[in-house]
Every structure is written in structure tokens, then in C-alpha cells.
Amino acid sequence: MFEMLTDRVGKSLRNLSGRGRISESNVREAMDGVRTALLEADVHHEVVDSLCEEVVTEALGREVTKSLKPGEEMIGVVHDKLVELMGPDASPPMWVEPGPTIVMLCGLQGSGKTTTCGKLAARWKNEGRKVLVAAADLQRPAAVEQLQTVVQGVESTGRGSGQVAFHGEPERCAEFGRAVGEAVTVCRNAINRARDEGHEVVLLDTAGRLHVDDELMGELEAIQTAVRPHRILLVVDAMSGQDAVDSARAFHQRLEVDGVILSKFDSDARGGAALSVRRVTGAPIVHLGVGEHSDQLEDFHAERVAGRILGMGDVVSLVEKARDEVDEAEAQKMAVKLAEGRMTMDDFLSQIKAIRRMGPIKQLLGMLPGMGAALKDMPIDEKQFDRVEAIIGSMTKTERTDPDRIERSRAKRIAAGSGTARDEVSRLMKQFDGMSQMAKSMLGPDGTPREQPAIPGLPGVGKGNTQIKSRRAGAKRGKGKKRR
């Protein structure tokens, strides 16, 4: 989402470095481009001005004018500033003993609170916790039902050994403005129930409200006084503009927000709100919402997002995702196999599956340094991966361990069995060969890389082609429902 900003900052700084010797006014001039880029990224104008001022001072202090690579030096300064502005990274959630730990979500209308409740519940379920989610939005029609459906979905399909239960009192719902005060009762009841039933954490979903709506802001304060939440999280839409600062400040002034969750980060908004909200509230950004499904919540790392702003890619996320999906010992065994040229079709298949579990390929490639902008418009066909899986699935056991045995007649049978074309099978065989070759040349005998690893030729990355479709982020197979 920060791609454009990356382009802009990169360009103005490249211009700067192209000039050879530069003066103080050159630095200020380059900062003008940075300023526009930050404003276009929706960073609050006051934050932009102070940030630019600080960068100029710092840059001059570091004597960038005398530097041989002033552009890079400036990038360094801007990067450090961005990290400083958005960091430090959040502390882990605080669990109180004895429980239940009470967590309240708040924010503007439509910012993503209810969806985020599902995401947090899913995360905690995965950690083995017993969670109670309470519906304290009695105002938006069907809000209680929405949350109930979300919670049931997490309980029935979410990973992990924990439990997620729902607390709702739909009979307390009322038309706009008439249910004020009732929400306090629902929250109180939920917490009593959690104590009785031994839930470790209670998550309160509140109604969306405008920060200038005194009556509804008062309701939040009443909940706060009544149940004393241990953590108050503000949900902010990543697409928000300048107003994010004023609303965040108002919520913070009345409730003392402990953390911020930036939702809809899967949009192409440049998300300058992240910078400014962090600056005005001082509360850390704890998570990013990256889709509508309950498993689409990520940790926030200032380094990572700042790196993304400056086109350094998002390698941290990539590595983290890989770590989630891949067992280290397994990976080491695989690397040795690869180095010895012993990779089988089964290995290939499990690699593909592991990669796909990490998320949509386009999103993954976008995390590679410098690839984001280049891949923006490249069509990537996830369906090709389905076909690869089908082809391998149609091979016999011996064919999989020794793919060299697959000659024409076998290829024909495999194509028929998998419902694919013959040349698709031979193309896969070629790709497989190519990958084994490359792996052998890249890895030392112990499986460690010999040199900078290149990006392996992934299937599914094609040139413009109308029939090629990219799967919608998050509609992973077997998870959630598909939107078609």
C-alpha cells in the first residue's frame, strides 16, 4: 500500500543524488517531494511539517551534503524517522491474573471493529485461550447477529484448542440513540458470565461512533467506569485521511487508548494514518487487518512498514510467515535433499502447499524487496497452482519419487487423470527439472546457500492474459467462504 510513496520518495532522492555536490537548499528542495508524497499518503499535514523539519535538521547534522551518496544517506534519515514515529513495536497483550482480562474495541462507524473482534478471538483461540465475545453494539441494525455469526465461525473453523463463546442480548437493541446506556449492562453481564464460566478474556465489541458525538462518547466512558477494561483498542481504517488524527486524539483523550489496530491494510491506501495516529496518541499500533476473514490479522512492526514505505520490501513479514508454516528441521532436511538433487515430486508438492498457506502468491511476491511496484499490475494465476497440485496428485508413487520415469504415455495418462493438457504436464516436468538444477547450483552440500539466492521460477507468474485471474486475498482453500 505504500508503493506510491516509495516511488515518490525514491525519485526525489535519486534526483538529489544525481547532482553530485549538493547544498542545504538542495536538501530542502528534495524534502518538498517527500512532503508531497507524505501528504498524498494521508499523513496529517502537521505531522508532515514537523517530520520534514526534523529530517532536514538531522540530514544536515549528518553532513549529507558532504556525503558521496547523499540520496542513500537521506533515505536512511527518513527511514529512521519513520521507524521512530511508528515505533517502538507493541508490547504483547497484558494478561491479568486472576482473569478475566477485559479488552474493549472502539472506533468510528464502519472502521472494522466487529470483524477485528473475530480476528482477535481467532488468534486467542489459537493460543488455547477461553474467550467470551460480547455484543455491545445495540444500535447498528443486525450488529449483534453479525458478531454472533463471526464468533460461531471462529469457534467452528478457527485453529487451536481454545474456545470462543458469544454473549449477546439482542432484546436490548433499539433504534439510533435509544439504546444508550444499555450497552453498559450488556458489558457488565458479559463479565459476570465470564467469571462464572471461567473465561480468560472478555472482548467487548462496541458501536461505532463519531468522536464529536458527546452522548455516545459518554456511553464509552460509562462502560469504562463500569467494567474497567484492561486494554482499550482503537480500530482505525487504513484508508482514512487527515481526520484520523482528530478522531484518534478525541478517543484517546476520553478513554486513554492502549493500542491501535489499523484495518483494511489490504487496500492500496498508503496508510499515512498509521504515522499520524501513532504520533498523536502515543499508543502503539498493535495489529494490521489485511482482509475480511478471521485469520487475516498481522502483527505490526514499525521497521517493516517503514521499510515498505521506502521500497525495501517486507522481508520481515515474509520470513515470519515462512516460520509459521515451515518446520525448521523439515526445512533443513529439504535443503540437503535439494542440494543433492534428490528432490521428489512429493517434496515439490509440499513446498507449493506450504507457500500457498502463507497467503496469496501476489501478496508474497509483493513483500520481496523492490518487487512491490513491479508486481502491482502483473496478473498471477493461482489456479495454475491448483492444476499443478492436480497433476502431481495423478502420479503414481514411483512416478513421484522418480519423475525421470515419466515418458510420453505416462504423461498422457497423468494429463487425463488430472483433467489437464499434455503440455501442461511436460511444462511442469521442465519446471521441476529447472528448479532441481537451480537448487543444486545455489546450495552447498550442507544445504546452506552458496550465494545470494535468486527468486525461483514460480509457476503461475505469467504475462498479461485475460483469462488469468488472481484469487481474492484471503479466499484460501478450505478457509472461510468464497465470494463469487
Binding site: D42, D237, G241, R483
Partner: protein, 311 residues
């Protein structure tokens, strides 16, 4: 309803302020001569309203030129100059929508997640109920509770609703809605759709499909496609408009949530780059909180923003 009413009333009066009333940055400049510092303050207040750096720059340049040429010297004159400029850019559409020559007029409502589509549909339904029979189609079959949300509104407003099961094909619901609207002799059919990010290509194609289906049942439908834009949206709003224009040929914008402190200034860039005008504004969560867009009070509210309030 105490303070909330006060907040909306304040906005209402904010939106109907006369041209001579000066608030915000221009309040501070009243009776004063314009200088470089004043121009910077005006620039800040435009940025603050999400007008965006590029358009702000060109607005300020035009003002600066007028000031250098001596046609603008005081705060009042600067304000009038800017207000004229903005009004001209916005155009005047006053909620006019294309209507069917005969049979139901079909409105398709689209937008990103959480923008305010369903609530705006309730408001439009209330508005058009005064003119004739309204049928709603609940083609958001994706989000949890979305169908029920629209059902609650239909019941409160006493209008018909056509729905499918959660997870059903939204195009099929649109089809059923269109057939029902014809069969029941409705004057208006308003189709709700699931929120979608404009970068989700497949979901954008789904919108085109819904549009085609409507046109197959009712000639020239949808007659009006409206994009609901959250007034708190930043510069990304332009990307939203561009993509929804490409996929669903939007005719107008409903600028929702204008009852807060956000002013949705990106609508100006949208108008400039895509030609799509704002037709309605949302000023609250009740069905009556919809107003026909009027550039005059809107510009007043936009310029009335007090930059000092952010500190």
C-alpha cells in the same frame, strides 16, 4: 438525544451558513490583509479537509496570483475567490438521478467496506418512498448479518425487500430483485452490494456482472449507480472512484458521515479527474439523515474548518 442532536444541528447550520459568515481560518483573517502567512494558513486548512496536495497547490497558486495582481487583498476577498473556485469545480447536481422512462428506476449502490452503503440505502428508500413504491434487493450475501441489517431497515421503513441466502450468488439476488420490482409494479429498486476494496479485481468483475444482469431484466438498468464514499476517506478516495467507475460506471457519489469533522475534500479531486459529482450527503445514522448535495453550504463547511482545532 441531547448532545447528539446538537452535533447534527451544528452541522446543519454549518452547511447552511451564508456566504458572509466567516469561520475557521477565514474567521481569523476577517478584516485583515492577505500575506504569505495567511496563504499558508489557508493551505493548511485545505489540506486538513483532505483536498490533497496537488489540488491544494493549484488552488493556492490561483489565489496567490490574484493577490499579486491586486484583485484579492483582504481575507473576505480571498475567501470569496476560493469559494467560487471550489463551487465551480464541484458543479451543481442537486441529487438529480436518471430515471426510467417506464417501469422501475433501478439504483445500484456500491463502495468499499464500511463506507455506509446499507445505511445510505435506507435513507434513499425513505426519500423515494415519498414518490412511489420502493423495493430493496439484499445482494450483499457475503458479510455476516448484512441481509438482516437491510431487512431491519425495510421493516422500519415499510418497504419490500428481496433477499437470497447468505452465501448466495449476488447476481442471482439482483435478478430476483429486478423481476420482483417489475412484477410488483415498483417505481424504484435499490440494490445493496457487499463492501469490496477497489483493488480486488474479481469482486469488481462481480459488480459488472450484477450490472449486466439488472440490465437484462429491466432495460437500461441500473439507471443510476451510486458510489458511497466515507467522508473520512483520504486521498485513496480517488482510487476508489476510478476503479468503481471502470467496473460499475458510477454516476454519482453519496458522501456519507459528513456529520463528523471530516469534510471529504477528496471529492473535489474525484470530480476533477473522473467527472463524477457528489449527489447526496449523509449526515447521521437515521433514515432522515440524507441531504441533497448543495455545493454552496458544502464549500462553506469546507472552508469553515478551523485549522487551530487540530492542536
Amino acid at each position: 438525544m441531547g448532545l447528539f442532536r446538537r452535533a447534527t444541528d451544528a452541522l446543519r447550520s454549518g452547511l447552511t451558513k451564508t456566504r458572509t459568515a466567516l469561520t475557521g481560518v477565514f474567521g481569523a483573517l476577517a478584516g485583515r490583509k492577505i500575506d504569505e502567512e495567511a496563504l499558508q494558513a489557508i493551505e493548511a486548512s485545505l489540506l486538513r479537509a483532505d483536498v490533497g496536495p496537488a489540488l491544494t497547490k493549484s488552488l493556492i497558486e490561483s489565489l496567490r496570483t490574484a493577490w499579486r495582481q491586486g484583485t484579492v487583498t483582504t481575507g473576505e476577498e480571498a475567501r470569496d475567490h476560493l469559494a467560487n473556485d471550489l463551487r465551480e469545480r464541484l458543479g451543481d447536481h442537486r441529487g438529480s438521478i436518471t430515471r426510467a422512462d417506464q417501469g422501475p428506476t433501478v439504483l445500484l449502490v456500491v463502495g468499499v467496506n464500511g463506507a455506509g452503503k446499507t445505511t445510505s440505502i435506507a435513507k434513499l428508500a425513505k426519500r423515494f418512498s415519498a414518490e412511489g413504491k420502493v423495493v430493496l434487493a439484499a445482494a450483499d450475501t457475503f458479510r455476516a448479518g448484512a441481509v438482516h441489517q437491510l431487512e431491519v431497515w425495510a421493516e422500519r421503513l415499510g418497504v419490500d425487500i428481496i433477499k437470497g441466502k447468505e452465501g448466495a450468488d449476488p447476481a442471482a439476488v439482483a435478478w430476483d430483485g429486478a423481476e420482483a420490482a417489475v412484477a410488483r409494479n415498483a417505481d424504484f429498486l435499490i440494490v445493496d452490494t457487499a463492501g469490496r476494496l477497489h483493488v480486488q479485481e474479481e469482486l469488481m468483475r462481480q459488480l459488472s456482472k450484477i450490472k449486466d444482469i439488472l440490465g437484462r431484466v429491466i432495460p437500461n438498468a441500473p439507471h443510476e449507480s451510486l458510489l458511497v464514499l466515507d467522508a473520512t476517506a483520504g486521498q485513496n478516495g480517488l482510487r476508489q472512484a476510478e476503479h468503481f467507475l471502470a467496473a460499475a460506471a458510477i454516476d454519482g457519489i453519496v458522501l456519507a458521515k459528513l456529520d463528523g469533522t471530516a469534510r471529504g475534500g477528496v471529492a473535489l479531486s474525484i470530480r476533477e479527474h473522473t467527472g463524477v459529482p457528489v449527489k447526496f450527503v449523509g449526515t447521521g445514522e437515521r433514515p432522515e439523515d440524507l441531504e441533497v448535495f448543495d455545493p454552496e453550504p458544502y464549500v462553506d463547511a469546507l472552508l469553515g474548518l478551523d485549522d487551530g482545532s487540530t492542536e
